[in-house]
Structures are given as C-alpha cells and as structure tokens.
C-alpha cells in the first residue's frame, strides 16, 4: 500500500490510470485525510438542512450498517452482480478479441469498425427500453444493457492500442525473422496492453452504469430496486447509502483491476 516508486505518466495508460496511480502513490495518511475532509463536509452540509432529502453522513452511515445487518444490502448485490459479471465477461472476451482482430486485419476493420464507432457515440441508455421490448424484463436484457455500455470502449481501445504499436518494434521482430505469431504474442499484445487496460477500466465503469440503469429502467431488482424503494418511502439515508456503496464498489473494482494489470503485465512498473 505504501508504494512510492514513480511511474512515467506516458506509460501509466490513460487518464484514469494516471490519476489512479497518483492516488495509489499518496501516503495512506493523506488518502485518509482527504476522505475525512469529504465526509466532514458532507456532515456539515447535511446538518445545514438545505434540502430535506439530503441526509447527513452519520445518518447515511447508520443506514448502511443497518442494511448490511438486515441482509437487504447483501441480497441486492447478489442480484445485481449476476448480470454485471456475465455482461462484463462477455464484453471483455468478445470486445478484446474483436478489437485486436480489427487492429491486426484490415478486412475485419472495414467490416466492424463502423458498428463500434456508432455504438460508442450513441447514447446507449436510450436503447435500453428497446432492449426490454425485444428481450423482456429478465436477465438477458440486463446483461445486454451491460454489454452495450461496456463493450464499445473496450473494443475501440483494444483496436487503437494494437494500431499504435510502434512500427519500429514490428520491423524489429521481422528483421530478426520472428514469425507473425511471435510478433503478435511477444510484441503487439504486450505493447498494446496499457491502452487496452485503460479501455477495460473504462468499460468496467460503464458496465456498472449499464447494470444500474437496467435496474432502474427495466425492472427494479437488486441495487436499482433498493434505490427506488427507499426513495419512494423517503428513506433518504438508505437511498444515499445504497448509491454511495455502488459508487465505492465500482471504484474499488476498477482500482483492483489496475493493480492486477501492474502485477501481471507491467514488470517495468513494479518497484524493484
């Protein structure tokens, strides 16, 4: 936790990566202090009663503990996590494979790039009612919502990452008579991995949006249901606790991914 080695931001991989690295490198004391300041400000704002629907931090925290203890929080997460994991697994597998194939082959690029560019530019949330219309209100629709939001950014980043591999590294493998397979596995994939992972982190974050949107728009289940329910009965402490918990969960998931990447794929970024 107290890693202090410096990483050149150019290889830290994207905006989220850079900011995350910096946060991860802050000494624990400063990280705790910044959280304490945030919660303190929240507490004061809540006590000022500027908005009846805005609970204090302590109320929210108490509601959180209550929901954890009565099991409603755990049950909600169990429901929410299923479409999330299925959707993310699919988006990762298909998205990375499609992106890499597009990067490696012009014909695949011509066929599929327009689809992904459209998907990335379109407000996918607007399609969610349409998904429901076709696939009903079950698991399939929610998985699809996650895939629609997560996959385009994963695919496009993987594609760009492969395209951005320096030409001289490709020439280098050719000049030492490496095969195409060696070129792909030993040069292209490792060289593309920082940008690919930046896309995966963004995709995972999008996937969280997708699943929550689906639960708010399609059928209230899981976390979406918890938010909707507590709002309808004016339990604002509980509503905020649920929202903050899903935000924290997404942030933790994305940071874990970042650490996993550094550990598994970027030996030069590990402290020696």
């Amino acid at each position: 936790m107290t890693k202090t080695d410096t990483v050149p931001s150019a290889i830290a991989g994207g905006v989220t990566g850079g900011a995350m690295t910096r946060f991860a490198q802050m000494p624990v004391f400063w990280r705790l202090l910044s959280l304490a300041l945030f919660f303190g400000a929240w507490e004061l704002a809540g006590q000022s009663n500027f908005n009846a629907a805005f609970p204090t931090f302590t109320e929210t925290f108490a509601a959180f503990v209550e929901m954890v203890l009565d099991g409603s929080m755990g049950a909600a997460y169990l429901r929410t996590i299923e479409p999330l994991i299925v959707g993310l697994a699919f988006s990762l597998g298909v998205g990375v494979a499609a992106g890499v194939a597009m990067g490696l082959r012009r014909d695949v690029e011509f066929l599929t790039l327009p689809i992904f560019i459209t998907m990335q530019a379109a407000p996918m949330a607007a399609l969610i009612p349409l998904i429901t219309f076709v696939y009903g209100v079950g698991l399939a629709s929610k998985v699809l919502a996650v895939v629609f939001l997560a996959m385009p950014v994963i695919t496009i980043n993987s594609y760009k990452a492969v395209r951005n591999v320096p030409g001289s590294l490709l020439d280098m493998t050719r000049s030492f008579m490496g095969s195409r397979w060696q070129q792909i596995t030993r040069i292209i994939l490792p060289a593309a991995s920082p940008m690919m992972f930046a896309g995966i982190r963004l995709g995972v974050a999008e996937g969280f949006s997708g699943v929550v949107l689906a639960e708010l728009l399609i059928t209230p289940t899981g976390i979406g249901d918890l938010i909707t329910y507590h709002r309808s009965v004016a339990n604002f402490g509980h509503m905020y606790a649920t929202i903050v918990s899903i935000v924290a969960f997404a942030v933790i998931a994305v940071s874990l991914l970042y650490h996993l990447e550094t550990k598994l794929f970027r030996p030069e970024k590990r402290g020696q």
Partner: protein, 270 residues
C-alpha cells in the same frame, strides 16, 4: 546465379584490399505510393569486413535503402544480393540497429539483448549467456536487469547494438545509431565502435547525416543526392584510426576530407 557471382569478385575496383562484396545492390529504384521517387538506380557493392557510410541530406532515402538491404522493404525495381544470393526478406546474415532503438519497454536489458535469439528459439540459458557476453561487450555490464526507461539514450542504443551482435550476423545495418544521443556520448560511442570492429569481424553499413561521423568511422563513404536519392560520389577516406581519437579528429587528412565532402554536399543544400 552462383556461377556469375563467383566469376565476378576480381572485378572490384579496390586497389590493395582484395575484399569481396558481401552485399550488392543492382539497379534499385523505390517509389512510394506511385508518386514519391525515393531512390533511383542504386548500384553499390559493400565489401566484407568494411564499414560503409551512407551519407546524405535528410529525406534522400538513406533509411529506405538500408531497409531494402535489410529485406524490410521491397524495392520497386532492382535487387539486393547477400553473399551472391538475391534477398527476398530479412535473413540471419543481416541484423538491424534502429534509430529509435526499438527496445521493448516491458523487458529488461538482458531480455532485450537476447530477443533476436529468443525469436530464433535458442533456449533460455544459452541465449542469456550470449546476451550477457554482448551486453558486457558494449559496456553495459551491471545493467542487465534494468528496464529501458532507466537508461540514457546512449545506453539504450548500446542495448540495440548488443541485440544485433548477439545473433552473430555478418552484416550490421545501423540507421543513424548516434542521432538520438548527446554529443559526448556520440563521440564515445564512435570510438567504441572503432574498437568493436577490431574485435568483431563484421561488415557495417551505417546511415548518417553527419559528415564528421562518416569520415571518422568509414572505410568507404557513399554520398547520396537529395530525392530521388542517387549515388553522387563514393569516397574511400584513408585515415589511420589507430591511436589517439582526438589527434585523429585534428589530423589534416580528416579535416581536409570533411571539408571536401561539405563542399560537394553544399550545392544540394543551397
């Protein structure tokens, strides 16, 4: 093909040294995208064991010619022969040293230096042993476990050189190997290259845009004209390189030749 190649060696014009050409280009033309005529009718012979510089203003096609010799680019017309055989792609007798080093940032100095051998399927202990030898040879011992971003530009280029030496090719193709390093490092590197040539029996083809560098290092200098690149002049500087490097750089032959080449190139610049 072979019969012709064997019949010809005596045809080389070189006076005293009976060196045979290891690389020969015949009527090379290169046109990029139908419009950019980069090289025009390049006929050259590179003798075994010699260091030849390709010298010319930037954009005249030096890199293009070197990549064609390496087999990384196809000439639009003409062919390259190595040891009398026409080149169809990269081969084990040629190794390339890249202008931007082309090192893998995620790999240590040792793995980078061993990468040519790794691609050839040499087993790990053997390739690391050979890479270690050449890492030491280029003056980087102690840095085997460092990553490229921990090294200076000059040191990175030494890794690129070690990688090319480790595959034991006969011909080393170097594309402006010293252009990305500072002046002191550059001079030190040039001196080291002269010493390296005494130990390793290799043929060097070196691209440069520095007249001083070409004169200081080369057995032969090929001057290329601006686009479309053609062979303007071939010069054999006869400079005695044994002894104090600073004295060589002050020697009248060295200074006169630098001046002469500069006068020759000047018309292009103006």
């Amino acid at each position: 093909m072979n019969a012709i190649a064997q019949a010809e060696p005596s045809a080389t014009v070189a006076g005293s040294a009976p060196a045979t050409p290891i690389v020969r280009t015949r009527g090379i033309h290169k046109v990029y995208g139908g419009t950019v005529h980069a090289l025009k009718d390049i006929n050259l012979e590179f003798k075994r064991g010699e260091l030849t510089s390709l010298l010319g203003p930037s954009g005249c096609g030096k890199t293009t010619l070197l990549k064609i010799i390496a087999g990384l680019l196809e000439p639009t017309e003409g062919e390259v022969e190595v040891n009398g055989k026409p080149v169809t792609g990269p081969g084990p007798e040629r190794a390339f040293v890249f202008q931007d080093f082309a090192l893998m940032p995620w790999a240590t100095v040792l793995r980078n230096a061993a990468f040519g051998l790794e691609l050839q399927g040499v087993n790990r202990s053997e390739r690391e042993e050979r890479a270690r030898h050449y890492v030491n040879e280029v003056g980087l011992s102690g840095f085997e476990d460092k990553y490229p971003h921990e090294l200076s530009g000059g040191m990175r280029q030494r890794v690129g050189l070690a990688r090319a030496l480790a595959v034991d090719a006969d011909v080393l193709l170097m594309d402006e190997p010293f252009s990305a390093v500072d002046e002191q490092t550059r001079r030190k590197f040039q001196e080291d290259l002269i010493h390296l040539r005494e130990r390793e029996n290799k043929t060097f083809i070196l691209v440069t845009h520095s007249i001083e560098e070409a004169v200081y290092l080369s057995d032969r200098i090929v001057l290329l004209s601006p686009r479309p690149g053609r062979v303007g002049q071939v010069i054999d500087p006869e400079i005695e390189r044994k002894g104090d490097p600073d004295a060589i750089r002050r020697a009248p032959e060295y200074l006169d030749l630098t001046d002469e080449i500069w006068r020759g190139l000047r018309e292009y610049v103006e």
